[in-house]
Symmetry: C2
Subunit: 453 residues, 2 copies
């Protein structure tokens, strides 16, 4: 076992610290150094909209483990405020700057793990250098938004982009009393759902007062005195004191690319199932690394904490001398948007068409509990299954409280390669406080088989 | 196809009416007659504790479809108040009594479906003929309890048996202001959980004021003026104005047995996967029929509406000339007991020991949401997996709101034959309002693999 070797990790959030912790558990003697440019380790990026909304009272509550805890409890040398500037695979070293002292050093490694994450896409456009325009990807960016709101007391916000982050932020800003507009290029918000399901979410946003501008694209910003004053689209100008740009994220892979490491989907670092990159002794995990889609059977990139934790644990197992592989994902995601819980997994219609797969769909409305039980809420389930074989290919759920977690059954069905008939046969739980006697996911499966009433 | 034939169904609840409806969908010309001895068709037996609790305001709300609806909308001749007294397989006929006119007729059939359900076990003991002692299995029995409570205004109730029905009824009676004691022969309530998990449920019952008498057995009753006054156990006498006996159910198979049809587990009717009995042209489905346990690979009996609906649909498909099979169950059940949601699937420790299977367990405590998100509640998950292979064998969940439906992931994993490592790899959904970043079921799987912190 390679004890007394030095593991260097770039990035101190989910993937990096999962890997570091796993190596420490397996190998108490390994030297482990983590360089993290922000002041934070192991925080919940997904929790930031709830911090902005005021549901989580301090940013510290989003931190799972501090650098001090990693040092003291795990003997992991977690150096925050340290940015890696260059990789030198030939000499097995990285160039690091201490962001407070500005001193640079070359740090040697025996193994290197790149876990640099992803950052919010902020297109360079007219006026985009103005203050008041924010992406949301790191804890630091969430704190900056909150500080801006405290200082500038914005009244009108425009959110650009109707994905998870954009919608969660739109709701958070409404909750904080702002007047909120949302600009989305697609015909509905939540482009990871088919448009028929996305339309339900659009409606819920309108109900809480969000002005939606669909089929409309960002072209730039207006500013005065260095502060943003409006979002400009291809159709209008929307006054704004605060702009949240939720146009997705981009893997932080400039360092890897400069070192000649092979990139893959959306510029993420190509890895094999053990999380090895194309360069010797260099591994990658998390939002910067490529994944694999178990249904399309193609390389896939996804920036989610769940995947980062899994990839980090796999990388850590291998870095510790064990053997583990990351099989891939099925594209599961969930979010709470206004009154609705929204979830999806597998492939959607557009993706199936692109792959040339023939499919059937069924969409049903049911209840989250027995119809007669207090608090039964509406739930809409859409399933997509392969024509001929009946194999499940995807599913989408929009519904009231208690709806969304049912997506996990579909994710498991997809992973197991089960058919819609096998879904109907599943021995799912039933009692009136939890479900109708046929769970809504099974009602949708029955509909697809033509067995509904 | 066998149109113009006559299908006779005995029993008008879940299994019988699922089958009848399925036959009607597939064969508009088939003559379908259903004999049901109670006044009700297609009702939710599982909803009765909530009717007694006052959460569901009328018994009619528990009826999904009335006999009139079956007749008018589906052309199914649903004859309530008609009891079948005898089967005559040789001459393909059944003897039926009209319970209001007391007239008897022999009714011919081409195919017969036995869907006679199960009834509450009410042991014949000293004093058991007194009024005020009730089982709970049919809608009529629930209405009788409610009428007794309205008329007699009982103050002290004793529930005998700590299974789902007993516990749901104990909570319902506390909610109606009664002083409630519960007698359970086992060391903990909820004998379908391992005792360590059952202890959590016992504690929740004590918290709402239910007096528990564990390791104690019913021996009889005391009565005065024809009304029950006490429950007598092997250790004491407990004053009682109302007694609910929740000692499980027994399949209603006397008719089948008298006709020479082969019985199986717990006296249920043995069926093949198409739901055919040992007698020609006689089928069975629902609480009176046997099932198959997909994990123990043995015949199994379970009285649950979900299984009844599935078996009924399978029987209906076959009776309509199609081909369908019922693969079996994994033993999933869920219930809301006081503050807790309680769920189980697969095999428990005692069953694994009886089968001689070597297993490992892990039990973890986690949260139903991200720890920092408002409303995050405790959840305890126990997993059981086969030693060596790591195949999941069972799981149990006790937790606050949002905990229980996760059992469906475990039920799907069991059905697919997945290992605990494959559970860890599952792409389950995560967002702070729904789960920690590792779903609690995956945290338990990680613990079992030794991957936890």
């Amino acid at each position: 076992m390679a004890t007394a070797q030095r593991l260097v990790v770039i990035g101190g959030d989910a993937a990096g610290m999962s890997a570091a912790s796993k190596v420490r558990r397996e190998d108490p003697a390994r030297e482990i150094v983590v360089f993290e440019r922000s002041p934070h380790t192991s925080y919940s990026a997904c929790g930031m909209p709830y911090f902005i909304a005021g549901l989580v009272t301090s940013a510290e509550r989003l931190v799972a483990r501090s650098p001090e805890k990693f040092r003291e409890k795990y003997q992991i040398d977690a150096r925050v405020g340290h940015e890696v500037l260059e990789l030198d695979p030939t000499n097995q070293r990285v160039r690091v700057i201490n962001l407070s002292s500005r001193s640079e050093t070359w740090e040697p490694y025996d193994q290197l793990l790149i876990a640099t994450g992803a950052e919010a896409i902020l297109p360079k456009l007219d006026g985009s250098e103005a203050d008041g325009i924010f992406g949301l990807s790191t804890l630091a960016s969430g704190i900056r938004i909150q500080q801006f709101m405290d200082q500038q007391l914005p009244r009108r916000a425009v959110v650009v982009g109707g994905g998870y982050i954009g919608l969660e932020m739109a709701e958070a800003l409404v909750r904080q009393g702002l007047q909120v507009s949302l600009v989305e290029r697609g015909e509905q918000v939540m482009g990871t759902l088919d448009p028929d399901m996305g339309a339900l979410v659009s409606e819920a946003l309108r109900e809480i007062g969000v002005e939606l501008y669909l089929n409309e694209s960002l072209t730039g910003y207006a500013a005065a005195n260095g502060l943003v004053t409006a979002v400009v689209t291809d159709q209008r100008s929307l006054p704004a004191d605060l702009v949240i740009v939720g146009l997705g994220t981009r893997p932080n892979t400039a360092l890897a690319a400069a070192a000649g490491i092979t990139l893959g989907e959306k510029g993420s670092i190509r890895v094999n199932p053990r999380m090895q990159t194309s360069a010797a002794n260099i591994w990658a995990a998390g939002d910067c690394a490529e994944s694999f889609h178990l249904i399309s059977k193609r390389p896939f990139h996804v920036a989610l904490g769940t995947v980062a934790n899994k990839q980090g644990t796999v990388a850590g197992t291998n870095l510790a001398g064990g053997y583990a592989t990351f099989p891939g994902v099925v594209g599961t995601a969930v979010s709470k948007i206004c009154k609705y819980e929204v979830a999806r997994t597998g492939l959607m219609e557009r993706e199936l068409q692109q792959l040339g797969l023939l499919y059937r769909t069924a969409t049903i409305k049911s209840k989250t509990r027995a119809g007669y039980y207090p608090g039964a809420g509406s739930i809409t389930v859409k399933l997509l299954a392969e024509q001929g074989t009946g194999r499940l290919l995807g599913g989408q759920i929009v519904g009231l409280e208690g709806a969304a977690k049912r997506i996990d059954v579909l994710a498991t069905v997809l992973t197991a390669g089960m058919t819609v008939q096998q879904m109907v046969d599943l021995d799912l739980s039933y009692a009136p406080p939890f479900s109708p006697v046929w769970d809504p996911v099974q009602t949708a499966a029955r509909q697809l088989l033509g067995n509904s009433d």
